[in-house]
Amino acid sequence: MKIKSLKSRKDSLAQTEKQLAVLNGGIFKDGTLPKFKQKVKSSNLKQVRPSRLEILQINIGYMCNQVCAHCHVDAGPDRKEIMTHETMEEILMVLKKNKIKTVDLTGGAPEMHPEFRWFVEEIKKTEVEEIIVRSNLTIILANKKYNDLPNFFARNEIHVISSLPFYKRNKTDRQRGDGVFDASIKALKMLNAVGYGIPESNLELDLVYNPSGAFLPGDQNALKNDFKKALKEDFEIEFNQLFAITNLPISRFLDYLIASENYEDYMHSLVDAFNPSAVKNVMCTNTISVSWEGYLFDCDFNQMLDLKVNTTSKHISTFDPEKLIDRDIQLSQHCYGCTAGAGSSCQGSIA
């Protein structure tokens, strides 16, 4: 089934306050389940606080060639929000003035931004050690002008992290749309051909697995072995790591949970799987997320809920590392998604 973004459907969940009302209401309001803050407190854990800033994750726009059923960004071809040149310049200034190890570019499909390549090359000139691009793979084949992206990535030593929900066609296409699996396989072969994911190469290609439904990801290592075996045997494809990422109950995935009457059970699963040892490594402790408008957030999920950082340094133009490191993280019940089981982050398991 072809799906559209919540925004174009004029779905009430496109409004962040509606999503927060769901997350703060119902089973969390009537006390059936504890709120995230209480759970952290009752587990004798310290409050979630930033430890060091290592990663600047930059969302350069919501436009995308795909409309995935689980997308927490509510991205799609109908989304026109993209970062301005001025905001990109402001980010480059911050990267020049501050020691930031990793820049993680995401979207939408970040490659669709008209200034994507310029921005990458400018970041490359700074002291940033690693540039990650979160690629949906199919963009490489979506238009002739993107066909040479693998070479561009290789030339700039980009760390490519790609979504591939499953190693079989059926589950991938159900989550990401018809034809996505075949296009993804072709794109992975193109990346392998320029050296990505090959054992002796230093070009890193990691895959992201997220469950295609209302259940949590299984053991990351076991899934990695399954993916490696299947992709090698069936398609001669190689990759480095597999990150198992939990779907967080926001945006289109929240809409799916409610529509399929899985919301309460899913929240029970997340709360039951709360793992205290994952709490200290959640990604908001070392990451700042920047929106297409230049606002700062604790993570990409808070960005989608419009929960800006709790400090006066709320925008890239007023970026102040000292204020940012001294902030309290904005928490809600979606945070259970990062602490369930082996934990979850944009770099996979954390516990």
Binding site: K168, P211, G213, L216, G218, D219, A222, L223, D272
Partner: protein, 111 residues
């Protein structure tokens, strides 16, 4: 009292059986968790066995649990259905093999 013997939410409260007998309950849960750890059989194989047995013992809680467990482990629906057929085949066979007893008794009683 609720009108149905089975309540889906009872599964979430399974752990509460410890409230009335912690010693025996804890022994059961420790044993249960150990059984499903990786061993000579993989946790994935054990999950499929559990799914098949869940159908044979017709436990709705277990069917819900091990369908979800299989999805989490990347088990595909075709594998799940084959496992259910294995369970069903054994159950059917167990019924049918008694046919030999029937035949023996029939012949014994007949002239």
């Amino acid at each position: 009292m609720k009108k149905s013997y089975y309540q889906p939410e009872d599964l979430k409260n399974f752990g509460k059986i410890n409230e009335w007998n912690k010693v025996l309950g804890s022994k059961f849960f420790d044993y249960y968790n150990s059984v499903f750890e990786e061993g000579s059989l993989s946790a994935r194989e054990k999950s499929l066995i559990a799914l098949a047995v869940s159908h044979v013992v017709q436990c709705p809680y277990c069917i819900d649990s091990y369908t979800k467990d299989g999805l989490q482990r990347g088990v595909e629906k075709e594998e799940m259905m084959e496992a259910v057929h294995v369970g069903a085949a054994i159950k059917a066979g167990a019924a049918l093999v008694h046919g030999v007893q029937m035949m023996n008794k029939h012949d014994q009683l007949s002239m």
